[in-house]
Symmetry: C2
Subunit: 245 residues, 2 copies
Amino acid sequence: MSEAKVRLYVDQPLGPGQPVSLNADQAHYLFSVMRLGPGAAVLLFNGQAGEWRATVETAGKRAGSLRCAAQTAPQVMPPDLWLLFAPIKKARTDFIVEKAVELGAARIVPVLTEFTNAERVRVDRLQAHAVEAAEQSGGTFVPEVAEPVKLARLLQDWPEGRRLIFCDEGLHDRPVGFGDLAATDAPGPWAILIGPEGGFSAAERARLHALPFARPVGLGPRILRADTAAVAAITLWQAHLGDWR
Amino acid sequence: MSEAKVRLYVDQPLGPGQPVSLNADQAHYLFSVMRLGPGAAVLLFNGQAGEWRATVETAGKRAGSLRCAAQTAPQVMPPDLWLLFAPIKKARTDFIVEKAVELGAARIVPVLTEFTNAERVRVDRLQAHAVEAAEQSGGTFVPEVAEPVKLARLLQDWPEGRRLIFCDEGLHDRPVGFGDLAATDAPGPWAILIGPEGGFSAAERARLHALPFARPVGLGPRILRADTAAVAAITLWQAHLGDWR
């Protein structure tokens, strides 16, 4: 059998002998862009059933079908970590989504804060970007990108039992603290909140500091861009509280 | 006095009353792009003397002069950490340089490995990118971007006393290990080596594992892109061995 050159996310069941039909975009990508034909091998995942090796059966311009052969990797779920971030410029927002998928976040939520200054957030585009990041990084899980929500509303409806880490730019001189959280907090669901380039407003900071489920952390003595802060915070969370331990 | 809207790196002495002359590019940026004129305030740094507030004295099309008033921030040097990375696609290489500056690396070295697959590395462009990252992130230090060097040569001429962390993609199941390094290694100079997208060759891995100054680490159970690995590794190094502690 030939080696599979393409990894594709499909929103369909996968299993031994399972047929999989392609939509127009997927058929275009496989048969026109990647120039695969009948008999070619493709790796498929659906976010729930691991990775499967499948073979092209029919290849058309706007449709096609594959059939699953064997599972090639088990399903790997990320830890229960949400990434909440204030959207910034398009390229850097895309970058945050890509890195959250690679580093292992379970859910991604754009959050509108007082100082958020972003173009309109297109959730469908960010979700497609998350799919592409999983396809390219060998992941078997695609985090949901949620609809944007205002910070005040998010905190008001906060789910019980989930702890919230927020990166406070006023804490430059304080040690990082993810290790402290690992020592004092019981295992369970978490969320990381990254503010906009302009930081949180004084009212937002005061509100966050007063919440019983919120934990302020610092991220070193230098000023980090929002996208850098997101990657650094997920990394430290994974190393101290997640599945990198 | 008006608020300074521009931060500029200048390769000139800074001090009380010190005059600073601008080259054509800097004059264009300040006077044509940012539309500053005589009397406007600018923040300057030269990588050695902290940050200074200066005032525009003369503003021309291809030249100009400023005069330093007062120091606005002390010089902050990063820890003695080198980032060695195999260059990848242009946008992601730029990204690695930007993030290394923000997170705090002292020197950046493009390394050519067996599987490195990059366009020609333009060191002058990467150095300019490092300057821009420092200007925008409020840093007072600009790491040197060195000429590209072959991995074999780099290891042959390795400086005594500097430890080398390399991210081994074969170590997915092993805990991260930066905390272990902090527990067993004495303080001192370090380097982080990030391989290309294709990983190190078998010969390179064997050579790296045999070096007495090299420490293999893993970066979690998922496959990370080279740019993600660079940011994650510097973050963990800073938190365990650098100035984020």
